[in-house]
Amino acid sequence: MTTDVVQVVTRGADVAIVIDENSPFDVVTAELREYLASRSNLLSKGDITLNVGHRMLARDELAQIKSIIEANSGLTVTRFWFAPESMESGLLQVETKPPKTLGLPTNVADNHPAHNEIDLPGPPSETIAESISAVELMIESLKSRHNKNGARNRNITEALFIKSTFRSGESLHHHGDVVVLADVNPGAEIRADGDVVVLGSLKGWVHAGTSGDSKAVIVAMELPSTRFQIAKYEGIPPASDRRKLNSLSTGPKIAYVRSRTIHVAPFSGRFARYNKGVPYDG
C-alpha cells in the first residue's frame, strides 16, 4: 500500500492533499514526507487544503501533519476538511485560523478587499505555535457544533452579524448563520452554511444551508419577490396568480424546505409548525 495513502485532489481552483483515513498515523506521516520530497519542485508555492476524511486526529497530530507539509514543500495549509459521520451529506469545512475571539467578527467592513468580497476568516497562520492554537479553537468549535450523538447543535450557534445595509455587488460566504440588521439590496449575495435572518427587506440573493443542510431557513421582515436557495433547492416566487396573492401579503416571512420544495409562510416563531406555506416554483 504505497500509492493511496497520500493523494492530491483538485476540485475547481481548490487543491487538496487527501490522506487515507484507514492507514496508521506513523505510516501517513512517513508517506507524506516521501510524497512531498519526490515532488518538491512541483509543490513549491501556494495554499492547500488538507482532507483527513473520517479520521479522528488529536490536535497535535493535525499540527504535526501541517508542519510536515509546510516544512517539506512551499505550500501553506489554509484549510482542513473533515467528514463527520453524522453529516449525511458533504464535508464540513473548518478554517485553520478562526478570529481572535471565539465568535466571528461582527465588523466586517474594516478589512474589505477592494471588490467587496468578504473573506472569512483571516489569512492562514504564520507560525506553528499559532497554528496549534488555531487547531485548538477549531476543535472547540467542532465540539460546540456537535453534541454527543453527533448531531449538530442548532440551538446555540455563532452567527455573523451585519449591521449595515448589504448592498449590490457585496457578497459573502459564512460557515454558520448570518443575521443582517438592515436591508439586503438587489444584487447582493449571501451564502451561509446555516440560517439567514434579515431584519429588513430581503431583495438580494440568499443561499442558506450551503453545505447541504435542508433544515436551514431564511427569515426576513419583508420578502418581496425574489429568488433564493436552501441547500440544493431553489425557489422562485410562484407565477400563478392565486398563489401569488398569498405570498405577496406583507409581514415577516420564513422560507423552508418541505418535500423538496421551498415554501414561504408568515413567520410566527422559530419552532412553530409551518405547514401552510406557499410552495415556490423550483
Binding site: 474589505h112 445595509t165 449590490s168
Partner: protein
C-alpha cells in the same frame, strides 16, 4: 487653509454628475469660497463645456500629473467674478494615464489653497472611478429616480464604504413632480429607503438645466429657475448650512392652472 476634497460620483452614466459638479462648484464659489473643480473623466471631458471654458484650455490634468506644466498653469479661472477654477481632463488620453496616488497628492496640494476641491468622477466602477474616489474624504452620489440608476448608486455606495468613504450623501436628480404625483416615478422616500443614505438635495427636472449647459453657464447662476435654486440650496448644505429639504410638487399657481385649462402647461416646476 485646509480644504475639503469631495468626489461626485454615480456609477451609472448620464445622471448628471458633471452638471452637479459644475453647479455645486459654482454655488460654493457664489457663497464666497475658493473652489477648484477637477474633471477626472479623462478621454471624455465635459466639465469644461458645461462651464463654458472649453476654448481656454491649454494644459490639462494629465499634463500636471506628468509634470509638463505647473499646477496653476492648468487651472482655468471661471468667466464670472468668483474664485472658481477648473482643472480639465485630457481628451486624447485614457483613464490609465494617472495613478490614484498621483491624484491624491495633487488634491492634497490643492487643499492647501482652496476651500473646496470637487472631483468629477467618470461613470463606471473601473480604474477611473477608483482613481477619482481615492483622493476624496467625502462623497456625493448623484442618482435619478430610476431603478437602473439606483441599482448602480447602491453598488457605488457599497464600494465607497468598503474603501473607507463612509456616509456618502445623495442627490436625487431630474425628479418629475407630476410623474411622482401620478405614481409613475419613485419619490424621495422610496429612493431614501432603498439606498439608506442621507439625501442632500432634490433637483427637479428643468429645461433650464439643459439650456444653461448648452450656453456654458451653469443653471445655478439663475436662482429663479427651480433647478438653479435647488443647486444653490445643495451648495449651502455642502457648506454646512442647515437648509431643510423642500418637497418638489407640480406648479399649481393660478397662471399654470389657466395654462393647463387651455392645454399649454409648460414643463417648468416650482416648489410648493
Amino acid at each position: 487653509m485646509t480644504g475639503k476634497t469631495i468626489v461626485i460620483t454615480s456609477g451609472k452614466g448620464g445622471v448628471g454628475k458633471t452638471t452637479a459638479t459644475a453647479n455645486i462648484g459654482t454655488g460654493l464659489a457664489m457663497r464666497g469660497h475658493k473652489v477648484v473643480v477637477v474633471d477626472t473623466d479623462i478621454g471624455l471631458r465635459n466639465l469644461d463645456v458645461i462651464m463654458g471654458l472649453e476654448n481656454r484650455i491649454v494644459y490639462d490634468l494629465v499634463n500636471v500629473i506628468e509634470g509638463t506644466c505647473k499646477l496653476n498653469q492648468a487651472m482655468i479661472g471661471d468667466k464670472h467674478d468668483y474664485e472658481l477654477f477648473l482643472i480639465p481632463a485630457a481628451q486624447t488620453r485614457d483613464k490609465n494615464s494617472i495613478e490614484p496616488e498621483q491624484l491624491r497628492e495633487m488634491c492634497a496640494e490643492l487643499e492647501k489653497e482652496f476651500d473646496y476641491v470637487l472631483i468629477d468622477c467618470p461613470a463606471g466602477i473601473e480604474q477611473g472611478f477608483k482613481t477619482a474616489t481615492v483622493a476624496a474624504k467625502e462623497a456625493i452620489i448623484v442618482t435619478t429616480p430610476e431603478v437602473s440608476a439606483i441599482r448602480d448608486a447602491d453598488r457605488v455606495i457599497g464600494l465607497l464604504e468598503s474603501s473607507g468613504l463612509h456616509r456618502p450623501r445623495l442627490i436625487i436628480n431630474r425628479i418629475a413632480p407630476d410623474m411622482v404625483k401620478r405614481g409613475d416615478m419613485m419619490d424621495q422616500k422610496d429612493v431614501e429607503s432603498l439606498l439608506a443614505v442621507e439625501v442632500i438635495g432634490l433637483v427637479p427636472a428643468d429645461e433650464h438645466t439643459v439650456v444653461a449647459a448648452n450656453r456654458g453657464v451653469p443653471v445655478v447662476h439663475n436662482a429663479k429657475t427651480s433647478a438653479g435654486a435647488a443647486f444653490l440650496r445643495i451648495a449651502g448644505r455642502v457648506d454646512g448650512e442647515d437648509i431643510p429639504l423642500m418637497s418638489i410638487e407640480p406648479k399649481t399657481g393660478l397662471l399654470s392652472k389657466f395654462k393647463g385649462m387651455v392645454g399649454m402647461n409648460g414643463r417648468a416646476y416650482s416648489h410648493a
